[in-house]
C-alpha cells in the first residue's frame, strides 16, 4: 500500500496527541501552552493550567525542593536539563512518575522553557525495586561488618583469656612441682604414700606440659610466639627427642622404632620448638595407640626438604576428621578422644610451629583403627655443614657447695626451690622483697641470686643493679625469673647484668644445669 502521498494531520493536531506530554512555560514556570496528552495524564483541563499554574505547582513537595535546588539552577546555567525524574501530582492527588527534558530558548527577546514529559510507570517501579535492593544490600553489608567485628572481638577476648589462664596456672604450678619432687626424694615405707608421691609427680608434670601448650597456643594466636632460629642438625634433635620419648613408649607397652640416617640434616630452626613438634607428635601417637602397638619415627631427605614421619598402629582417623585434625581444640568426632584427655591443642601447635619454620604438616590414615601417619616437611638449610661457631660460653657455671639467694614474693615458690637446693647440698635462703634481699646479701654473700622480675617493692632489674653495688661480687651469678618470655624482658635482663633468664615455673633440672 502506498502511503507516501497521504496527507498527515496538521502539526497542531500532532502536538496535541503526541505520545508525550508537552508544555511551554515562562522562566518563572507559569504554564503558557500544554498539550492534550499532558492534560490527560494529569487529569487537568488545559484551562485549569494555562496562566493559572506553574509547572512546579504540579510537583510533590520533594520535587518542588529539588526543582529549586537542582533543576532551576541547571536550566539557568546550562539552558537545558535532561532525564530528570519527578512525580507530577494528578488532579485527584495521586502521583504520576515522569521523566522530563527541558530546554530554555529565546523568542522575540523573551525567554521560555519547553518541556517534554514521558510516563515512566514501569521504569519507576523497577527503580524503586533497585533502590530497595540496594538498601537491603547496604544493610546486609553493615550487619555483616558488625558481626565480623563482634566475632573478631570475641576471638581476641578468648585469646586474652587463654593467655591469662595459662599465666595464672603457671604460678602455683612451680611450687606444686617442687613439692612433688621433694616428696619423691623421701623413702616412704608406706606403699600408699610412695604411690601417691609418684602420682603427684607425674600428674603435676603433665599439668605443666598442658599449661605450656596452652601458653604457646595463646602466643601463636596473639602473634607473640618467639623463635630462636639456629643452624641445627635435625637428626641430632630427633635422636634426643626419641630418647626422651622412649620411657613413655615403654610404659604404654609400645614397640618404638627409630630410623634415623647416619649423617646430619641441617635446618634453620629453633631447636626447642623442633623438639616440641616431634615430642607432641610422639605423645599423640602414644596416646591414640592401644597398648602394645608399634610407633615408628623416621626422617628422610626429599629434594629441598627434610621429611619427618611419625607412624603408629593406633585408632586412626576417620576421613571426615582428616581436614580438621590440626584445628585448635579439634578432637576426633568419634568421642573416643575425650577419654584420652588433652586440650586438643597439641596438633594445632605442631602445625603452627611447623609453619613458623616455613614447613608443612600432613596427616594420612586409612581409616578407623588402621593407624595414622603424620608427616612434617621442613626446608633444609642451604648449608649442609656444621657452621656453628663454638663460642666460648661465659664462665657462668659455678661448682661445689653454693650459697643461693632466692628472691621471690611467692613464698611457696621460693621455699620449695630453696628446700630442693638444700637437699642437693647447697645453702639456700629466701627473701620476699628487694629490700630484704639487699639486707641479706652483705652477710650471706651469695654465689647465686635468683630474682623474680616482678617484686612488690622494686623491679628485679633494679635489684640486680643494686645487689652488685651492695657487695655481691662480680662472680655472683644472677638469674632472672619471669612469668612471661618476651624478647624485651630478656633484653632488659641482659642489660641489668643477669647471666640467665628463666620463665616460671622454674624447671629444677635446668636450674641445676646452670649452676654446675
Amino acid at each position: 500500500m502506498d502511503t507516501s502521498h497521504r496527507p498527515l494531520v496538521p502539526i497542531s493536531e500532532g502536538y496535541e496527541r503526541a505520545p508525550c506530554g508537552l508544555l511551554t512555560t515562562g522562566i518563572d514556570g507559569t504554564i503558557l501552552r500544554v498539550n492534550d496528552t499532558f492534560c490527560r495524564w494529569t487529569g487537568f483541563a488545559a484551562a485549569d493550567l494555562l496562566d493559572k499554574r506553574r509547572i512546579q505547582d504540579l510537583l510533590t513537595m520533594g520535587g518542588k525542593v529539588f526543582h529549586q535546588t537542582h533543576w532551576a539552577p541547571l536550566l539557568q546555567m546550562q539552558r537545558s536539563v535532561a532525564e530528570v525524574k519527578l512525580e507530577i501530582r494528578h488532579r485527584d492527588g495521586h502521583k504520576v512518575p515522569m521523566l522530563i527534558n527541558a530546554v530554555r530558548h529565546i523568542e522575540d527577546g523573551a525567554e521560555y522553557d519547553d518541556f517534554a514529559c514521558m510516563l515512566v510507570m514501569d521504569r519507576h517501579k523497577y527503580e524503586q525495586e533497585l533502590l530497595l535492593v540496594r538498601q537491603q544490600a547496604q544493610r546486609a553489608l553493615e550487619e555483616k561488618t558488625l558481626a565480623e567485628e563482634a566475632l573478631r572481638s570475641a576471638d581476641r577476648r578468648k585469646d586474652e583469656f587463654v593467655a591469662t589462664i595459662a599465666h595464672e596456672l603457671r604460678n602455683p604450678l612451680a611450687p606444686i612441682q617442687a613439692a612433688a619432687r621433694l616428696f619423691g626424694m623421701q623413702n616412704f615405707s608406706d606403699p600408699q604414700l610412695a604411690w601417691s608421691s609418684r602420682v603427684l609427680d607425674r600428674q603435676s608434670n603433665q599439668l605443666a606440659r598442658l599449661v605450656d601448650d596452652l601458653l604457646d597456643i595463646s602466643r601463636v594466636a596473639e602473634g607473640k610466639l618467639e623463635m630462636k632460629i639456629e643452624h641445627v642438625d635435625l637428626v641430632g634433635i630427633l635422636r634426643l627427642a626419641s630418647e626422651a620419648a622412649r620411657g613413655m613408649m615403654e610404659a604404654a607397652g609400645h614397640t618404638f622404632l627409630v630410623d634415623l640416617p647416619g649423617r646430619a640434616l641441617f635446618v634453620e630452626a629453633d631447636p626447642g620448638r623442633l623438639t616440641q613438634i616431634v615430642g607432641n607428635l610422639l605423645t599423640n601417637a602414644t596416646k591414640y595407640t592401644p597398648e602394645g602397638g608399634t610407633i615408628k619415627l623416621s626422617v628422610r631427605r626429599e629434594e629441598g626438604n627434610a621429611t619427618i614421619v611419625v607412624r603408629d598402629t593406633g585408632i586412626g582417623i576417620a576421613s571426615q576428621d582428616l581436614a580438621s585434625i590440626f584445628g585448635i581444640f579439634a578432637q576426633l568426632s568419634s568421642g573416643q578422644s575425650r577419654s584420652q584427655g588433652g586440650l586438643g591443642i597439641g596438633l594445632s601447635l605442631v602445625r603452627a610451629l611447623t609453619e613458623r619454620h616455613g614447613g608443612r604438616v600432613d596427616v594420612t590414615s586409612e581409616g578407623m583403627n588402621k593407624g595414622s601417619e603424620f608427616t612434617v616437611h621442613l626446608p633444609l638449610s642451604p648449608v649442609q655443614i656444621d657452621s656453628r661457631e663454638t663460642t666460648a660460653m661465659p664462665a657462668s657455671g659455678v661448682a661445689g657447695r653454693l650459697r643461693v639467694l632466692i628472691v621471690d614474693d611467692s613464698e611457696d615458690a621460693a621455699l620449695s626451690l630453696a628446700t630442693l637446693l638444700d637437699i642437693d647440698g647447697h645453702e639456700a635462703r629466701t627473701a620476699s622483697s628487694g629490700a630484704t634481699a639487699l639486707e641479706v646479701i652483705p652477710g650471706f654473700r651469695p654465689d647465686v641470686i635468683v630474682i623474680d622480675i616482678g617484686l612488690p617493692d622494686m623491679s628485679g632489674y633494679d635489684l640486680a643493679r643494686r645487689a652488685k653495688e651492695s657487695g655481691a661480687g662480680s662472680k655472683t651469678l644472677l638469674i632472672a625469673l619471669t612469668g612471661r618470655s618476651l624478647m624485651q624482658d630478656r633484653q632488659a635482663a641482659i642489660e641489668a647484668g643477669f647471666q640467665h633468664f628463666m620463665t616460671k615455673p622454674v624447671d629444677y633440672e635446668t636450674l641445676l644445669s646452670v649452676l654446675i
Binding site: 522562566i27 518563572d28 514556570g29 512546579q56 510533590t60 513537595m61 520533594g62 520535587g63 518542588k64 525542593v65 529539588f66 529549586q68 535546588t69 537542582h70 532551576a72 539552577p73 541547571l74 539557568q76 546555567m77 546550562q78 539552558r79 537545558s80 536539563v81 535532561a82 532525564e83 530528570v84 525524574k85 519527578l86 512525580e87 512518575p97 527534558n101 519507576h124 527503580e127 533497585l130 533502590l131
Partner: protein, 267 residues
C-alpha cells in the same frame, strides 16, 4: 595547604579586599559564574566547593564531621584564614549563608561582612515559626533525590545535556554541575534541612545583608524577616524574584543590593 584540593578552591580577581563565595545545597561553585564577573574587577574572589559537592575531594566526606553545619563552618575558617590576610566579605547562598554565619560567630575577626542570599536558619515549621517544611516533606525530598540519583550516580554516563548555545559552559561543567555521590547527597540533604540555627542568630556581630526573594519556596519572606529581626543591625534587601536562586535568575538586583551594602561599609 590541604584545603585547596579538599574544597577545590579557586582564587582570582584583583583588589585589596577578598570576597569568598559559598554555594548552597544541590550544586557547586559554578553557581556563582554570573554573579562573580562584575565583582572580580574590584575584589579578589575565592570560590570553593563544599566537601561532598562539585569537585571537592569526596574521599574526605566524613559523615561524622559533616553531620552538623559546624563541620562545614570549620572548613570555611580554614579557607578564609588560608586565602586572605585581612577580614573577608563572605557571600553564602542558602545553607552556606548559615555556614558562613557559624564561621563568623566563631572567628568574627576574620569577617568584614556576611551577605546571605536566600538564607534560612531552620526549614522546619515549629510552632509559630514557619520554616516552610514538615518532616514528611524532607522524606519526600530524599525520595526524589533517590529517584534521580539512580540516573545520576557517579558511575553512569553523564545525564545532563550539553548546552550547544552556551559555548562558555565547558564540558566539564555540564558533567559535574549538580551531581555528586548519592549517599553524600542524601546525608547533606538531611543535615541541611534538619539544621536549626535560630538561636545562633543573636550571636552575630558581623555586618549582615539578607538578600530575600519575594517568592521563594525554600526561604519564604517571613523567614528573611525573622533573621533580620534577630540579627541586630542587619540589612534586609528584598528582590523581585521567583525561586531560591536570585543570584542566578535576578543577578542584577542582587548585585545592586550587595554593592550598596558594601559601599555603606566602605568595602
Amino acid at each position: 595547604m590541604s584545603f585547596l584540593q579538599r574544597n577545590n578552591v579557586h582564587v582570582s580577581g584583583a583588589g585589596d579586599t577578598t570576597i569568598v563565595f559559598a554555594h548552597g545545597f544541590g550544586c557547586d561553585q559554578n553557581m556563582w559564574r554570573l554573579f562573580v564577573t562584575d565583582l572580580s574587577s574590584r575584589y579578589r574572589t575565592v570560590l570553593f566547593d563544599l566537601v561532598g559537592s562539585g569537585k571537592s575531594d569526596l574521599s574526605l566526606y566524613d559523615y561524622d564531621k559533616y553531620k552538623t553545619l559546624q563541620g562545614y563552618a570549620d572548613d570555611v575558617l580554614e579557607i578564609v584564614a588560608g586565602c586572605a590576610t585581612s577580614p573577608v566579605i563572605y557571600v553564602g547562598h542558602s545553607v552556606s549563608a548559615m555556614i558562613g554565619m557559624l564561621a563568623a560567630i566563631r572567628a568574627p575577626e576574620l569577617f568584614a561582612a556576611n551577605i546571605m542570599i536566600g538564607p534560612s536558619p531552620s526549614f522546619m515549621n515549629d510552632g509559630s515559626y514557619i520554616g516552610g517544611f514538615d518532616r514528611s516533606d524532607i522524606e519526600d525530598l530524599l525520595e526524589t533525590l533517590d529517584n534521580n540519583y539512580l540516573g545520576w550516580s557517579s558511575n553512569m554516563a553523564p545525564a545532563i545535556m550539553g548546552a550547544p548555545d552556551q559555548p562558555e559552559l565547558a564540558q566539564e561543567l555540564t558533567n559535574s554541575f549538580c551531581r555528586t555521590d548519592p549517599d553524600i547527597a542524601r546525608h547533606f540533604a538531611r543535615v541541611t534541612f534538619l539544621a536549626d540555627h535560630r538561636s545562633d542568630l543573636v550571636k552575630v556581630t558581623t555586618p549582615t545583608l539578607i538578600v530575600q526573594s519575594n517568592d521563594d519556596l525554600l526561604a519564604p519572606v517571613a523567614v528573611g524577616e525573622f533573621i533580620h529581626a534577630a540579627i541586630s543591625g542587619s540589612t534586609l534587601a528584598t528582590v523581585d524574584n521567583v525561586g531560591h536562586c536570585p543570584h542566578l535568575s535576578a543577578p542584577g538586583p542582587c548585585l545592586e543590593a550587595t554593592e550598596q551594602f558594601l559601599q555603606k561599609l566602605g568595602l
